[in-house]
Every structure is written in C-alpha cells, then in structure tokens.
Amino acid sequence: MASLLAAFINNMQTTPPFPRVKTQTSRGMSDYQLKMAFIMPTMILLILMNIFPLLWSLYLSFHRYKASMPTPPKFIGVRNYSRLLADPEIWGYFQTTAYFVLLAVAAQFFIGFGLALLLNRDFRYKGFVTTMLLLPMMLSPVVVGLFWRFILSSDNAGLLNYFLSPFLKSPIGWTTNPKVAMLAVVIVDTWMWSPFMMLIALAGLSAVPKSLYEAADVDRASAWFKFRWITLPLVSPLLLIALLFRTMDAFKMFDIVYVLTREGGPGTATETVSMNLYKLAFRNYNTGKACAMAYILLIIIVALSNIYVKYLNRVKGEA
C-alpha cells in the first residue's frame, strides 16, 4: 500500500495535472465534457438544495397544506397571499420589522463607521483593540441573546438596572415594557453587528491613498473638507455593501428576538416577520401559508436590495 502511494505521489510530481492545450483527453473527453464533469456535482447540489426548495415552496404557497398532516396539498389559488395581506396583524409584524431595521441598521452604521474612523490611525495595541471590538459578531446570536437576557432583566437583578438603580425610581422593564422592548433588541443587535460595519468601513478607509490627504494638507483643507470630499466618496461603495448586508440580515431578525424577548414579547412588541413565520411554519405547521409569507418577505428583501444596488452603482460611477 505504501509503495502504491509513493508511486502515485512520484507520478503526480512528474506528470502535469492537466494537459495545457489539448481538446481531447486520453479517454476521449472533450474540454466541454471535462468542464461539465467538474461543474455538474455542484450544479446538482445547488439544484437540490436551493432551486428545488425554492420552487417547491412556491408551489406550496398556492396550496392548503400542513406538513404535520397526511392530507396532500390542495390548490387554493392566491388565497394564502390574500389572507396574509388582508390580515392587519401581519402588517403589524411588518411594521415592527421595518421599525427594527431602521433603528438597528442606522445605529450600526453610525457606531461602526465612527469606530472605523477612530481605528484608522496608528496607536498602541491597535491590533488588540480591533480584535476585541470584533468579538461580539463572532459569538452565536443565541448565546448573545441569553447573556443579554440576564443583563437586561427587568428587575434590579439585571446588571444594567443594577448599575442604573441609583438614578432610577423603579427598574426599567427592558424586556417587559412594550415601549422599551424594541430598544432592548436594537441595543443587543447593535452591540453584536456594529463591528461588522466597522470592519468593512475600516477596509475601505485603509484603501484610501494617503497622497490624497497629503495634497489636501498642502491646500490647507479642513478636516471636514477631507472627510466630505476624500474619505466619504471613496469609502461609500463599501459602506453601501455593508448596509445592504445588514439590512437584508436585519429583515430576517429571528434568533435574538426568540431568546431575548421570548418569542417577540411582550405581547407583539418585538415580534418580527421572521419570528411569526417560524411560528406559522414550525409550530402551527401551516406550511402553505408559511410559504406564502416567506415569498412576500423574499420579494420585499429583493426589492430593497435592488434599491441599494442601484444606488451603489451610481456611487461607484461617481467615484
């Protein structure tokens, strides 16, 4: 066995892996066939794992179907869609999600970009500080949700309320007061994902040529002028990509809400569309309706992404 392996390794070293210019292999495979042989496994996997579920769920979205029951899907046309779109509660979940996306992504943008500007200079322990700032986004969202659940506990046993207690008459109901609960979710998501925004912005900032700033210094340009006319235009394409990723991700917010505010509570104050979709699909097993809702969500995310991409192309053109 060892000699066989040695012979193989020897052979691999002396024989080039693929003929550079050759249209037919020794077995008679054309270049096209060879390409297909390499691509097909991935294509098959992609079709099985992505395309088929996408089409199957589209099919189910027009049917009355419960995955937990043995009855086959029954075609009901667009009834699932019309029911969902006519349900004021569903619109409430979309409203909650939009509110969350707006607050969280804006906070993450300003904090992340601000941190990147601070880190875009040389100082002692810069590497260590950057690594520490990146830690939150490397944690599991469920773990983050769980430890923030303790930090934001609504009585004085909660760490945050404990520290705030000298200044407060009564503890803040971070996860129990419907007026505050969304803020709690935004705080946690911002804590976790601002580093992502920071990382992308930092990559953009470090790619800005120093010579531009030097030329501006020669012209005695103000700090604001340099930021507005050098930094921002050159970094904005990357910032937009970061914003696009965060918006798409925030729209699908599920895990932190599931853990931190216990399935979107109090009441429906933090119940996002994804949270409701999960209940519809995996608790109620209302599979047809859940598929329809997933498609509505998909269309919204695609539309939003398109707006970003259009704007991104415009910014890139200007840059």
Partner: protein, 441 residues
C-alpha cells in the same frame, strides 16, 4: 491511464475509511428511546427504567428536551418521519394532531387486551389517552398526571405579627387562599418592593403555553370558556364579560408580582420563590420537588406549604398538566415499546414511580396514604383532581394556543384591552375551526 490512477486513489481512500470506521456491534443489546421534556419527572423515569433494563436486558434512554423547544423538536422529527424516538411522552393537547397526523399508533386494541384500564384514574385516561374524547379510541397511556397548584411561605403566613396585621387590614385570618379574591388580598399584603418581596409569582410568559396555562384556570373559574366542544362555536364563550373580568383580574395581579413577572414561565416562577422574592407562587406540582430540595431552595425548603388553585366567583377549575405515553409510528421498536408500557402500568412499578416522585395515574396508588404523605405537596395535588380541565386537544390546538398566547400577552402588556384581546381570540379561533372544516355540516 490518469483516470485509472485517480480511481485507484479514490478506492484506496474508501478502503481506508472503511477499515478505520468503528465496527458495528452485532451483539448490541436492544434499546428503547423515550423523549420527554427536560424536568425532574424525566430523571425519575430514567431511574425507574433501570428496573426494566434489569428485568429484560433492554436499555432505555430518556432524552430530555427543554420545555420551550419540546414541541417544535418532536414535531419536526415527526414531519421528517424520523425513527429517533420510540416512545413520546407528549402533552395532552398533542393527541388530536398526532393521532390524526398518524404520528402516534392506535393503541385501542392493544390497551383493551393488555392493560387494566379500570385501574387507571378515569379523567387521566380521557385527558391523556383518548381521542376523540368519549370515543374509546386510545393513542396513549397516562404517564404523568399533573395539575397546577400553589406553594406559599409558611414562615410568613404563620408569623404572628403578619397575621395580626393582615387581620386588621382585611378583616379575616391570614391563611392559604380559598378564593381568587383572597389570593389577591394576600398578594397585595405581601407586596413590599422596598424589601424586594412581592405577593405572587405566576405564569405570564409568551413562551410555548406559559400564560395560557396560568390564566385559563382563572378564566374558567370566573365563568369563561374556550367554546362549545359540541359545535366548536367560540364567540360568546371566550369573549364574555366574565372572561374579560378574569383577564383584568389576572393582569391586575402583575402589580403584586416582581418587575420581571411578564416573562415568568415555570423556571422563572420557581426561581422567584426559591430566592425568597415572593410569598406565593403558582406552578405545576411536578416542578415542586425543587421547592423542597435544600440544595436548590436554601431559603424556604423547610418552610413551604402547598395549596390547590383557588375557586373563582363562578366555579372551581384547575389547569391539567402531565403527559401521556405514546408510540411513534416511525419507531422500529414498537413491540419493545409496548412491552415497556405494559411493564410501566403494573401496580408495583407505579408504586415505585410514585415513590421516586412521579405523579402516578394508577387509581389505587394515587389514593393511598403512602402516596399522599410521600411529599409535602402530594396531598394538595390529589385534592386538585376533581377540578381539572384541559385546553382544546384538537389537531389545530397549536394554532389555537398561539392565538391565546399572543393576545393574552398583549392584554397583560397593555397593548390591547381585555375585551379586545378576547374578541380577537374568538375571531381567530372561529377562523381556524372554519378553515379546518368544523362548521361544514
């Protein structure tokens, strides 16, 4: 040539993988997998099952899933037709869905031939085994019979100064409450935020069935109902003045609960009591072993008393708990599972089950003095039996439950008024029943 070489290398890798793979043990003994929620009774069952293994040589593994994910995980396994679990110890509400969904096997004939049904407490058989109710068709055997109950701080209730002050303020003696009005008075009396002491901890959580199990017994006792089980009409039953009063009462109790109470499920309620934060706490009796365990409850493990859920102005009803033992349709060990269930229902095994802390469905064992005195809470548990009631057990129960959870949670958070929440539930429930074809005839 090259493809031959590549084939040879692949064959070599496969051969190595095959050689290094752990060998299957051909002589591996038979085994059974039981799935249950993560709580003390599951530990007792694992302990009890050692006797079964000793008798038969069949290994038993009790898999425990945390309560908030229990249903989701088991049902996902069912949808995937997984043979992961042989025996499922599921909630009574699951019966409709899992019998109609063909996830549980029909045990009617087997039970009639092998089990002495007369020895099992009748209402338990109906609640945990039978679907449709009254049909005599069985899908399970009762495993753990449970009820919602209360624990209270005897040291506070029996303190002469507290008793005197209570008598002076409310005009009657401080004692475990018999009615919800008394419960409210006592909760109010012991609410002292400056001492970090509150009157009551009960279930308000939006998770799984939290607030529903806590509130429904109040609703029933105030005169409300989920609907008419004959024709499945809901409007006019769940959204009555009585039900609204009950919901307002339940929301009002939050004033006498710790600030985090809207998130309270079984674990939080237990923690609030064990940490000395509340004078009374509602929970299912099966969770109470933690209350008398000095390792867990360092403050009041020896100063705790227990009482049954109080009566309301229009009746006395208590939320049923507990689960039935069913066999998964996808199990490859159905005969072994039946063998286990038959063994489990024997009187000596049920006696040991009760001794370990399990709440037996066996009539004689349940009524015996040995059982009633086995723990400080068994007597209150046994006294709760005549008042037990259950949620809908129809296949659509999860949707019905979800609607209740959401709307009641909105009501206690002030997002909706009691009446708005109950009207919304009535409308949604009728929509669910209509969609499922209950009104077709």
């Amino acid at each position: 040539m090259k493809s031959v070489r590549i084939s040879l290398v692949l064959a070599l890798i496969l051969a190595l993988a095959f050689v290094s793979a752990p060998k299957a043990d051909n002589h591996q003994s038979q085994s059974l997998t039981i799935v249950w929620a993560e709580w003390d009774p599951a530990n007792y069952l694992q302990e009890l099952s050692k006797d079964f293994t000793a008798e038969t040589g069949i290994a038993v593994d009790v898999i425990q899933i945390p309560w908030p994910n229990f249903q989701d995980k088991v049902f996902t396994a069912f949808v995937g037709k997984s043979d992961l679990y042989d025996i499922v110890i599921g909630d009574s509400q699951w019966l409709g869905r899992n019998s109609q969904g063909k996830n549980y096997i029909n045990l009617t004939d087997w039970i009639n031939e092998n089990i002495d049904v007369a020895s099992i407490y009748g209402p338990a058989m109906t609640a945990f085994a039978e679907y449709p109710k009254g049909s005599g068709t069985y899908w399970a055997l009762p495993a753990e019979v449970d009820a919602a109950g209360y624990v209270y701080r005897k040291d506070l209730f029996e303190d002469p100064n507290e008793m005197k002050a209570f008598q002076a303020k409310y005009g009657y003696a401080l004692a475990p409450p018999k009615t919800y009005d008394q419960l409210r008075d006592i909760a109010e009396f012991f609410t002292r935020p400056d001492q970090d002491l509150y009157g009551i901890a009960t279930w308000y959580s939006k998770e799984y069935d939290g607030i529903t199990m806590g509130f429904q017994q109040v609703m029933w006792s105030f005169g409300g109902a989920y609907g008419d089980p004959e024709n499945y009409k809901v409007d006019g039953y769940i959204n009555t003045e009585d039900a609204a009063k009950a919901l307002e009462f339940y929301t009002d109790l939050l004033k006498f609960s710790p600030p985090d109470a809207p998130n309270y499920y079984w674990a939080e309620t237990l923690n609030a009591y064990n940490s000395g934060k509340v004078a009374m706490a509602m929970n299912y009796f099966a969770f109470f072993p933690a209350v008398i365990n000095p390792e867990v409850n360092k403050i009041s493990h020896d100063k705790s008393g227990f009482f049954i859920a109080p009566a309301g102005p229009k009746g006395h009803y208590i939320s049923i708990g507990g689960q039935g033992m069913s066999i998964s349709s996808y199990s490859k060990n159905k005969d072994l599972a039946k063998q286990y269930m038959k063994w489990f229902m024997q009187k000596p095994v049920q006696e040991k089950w009760a001794m370990l802390g399990g709440f037996t469905p066996h009539k004689e064992v349940l009524q015996s003095d040995t059982f009633k005195t086995a723990t400080p809470f068994n007597e209150a548990f046994a006294a709760s039996f005549p008042y037990l009631r259950d949620f809908w057990a129809v296949p659509e129960y999860a949707e019905l439950l979800e609607t209740c959870q959401t709307n009641w949670s909105q009501a206690i958070s002030g997002i909706k008024s009691a009446k708005e929440a109950l009207n919304a539930i009535a409308r949604k429930h009728e929509e669910i029943f209509e969609d499922a074809g209950y009104y077709d005839e």
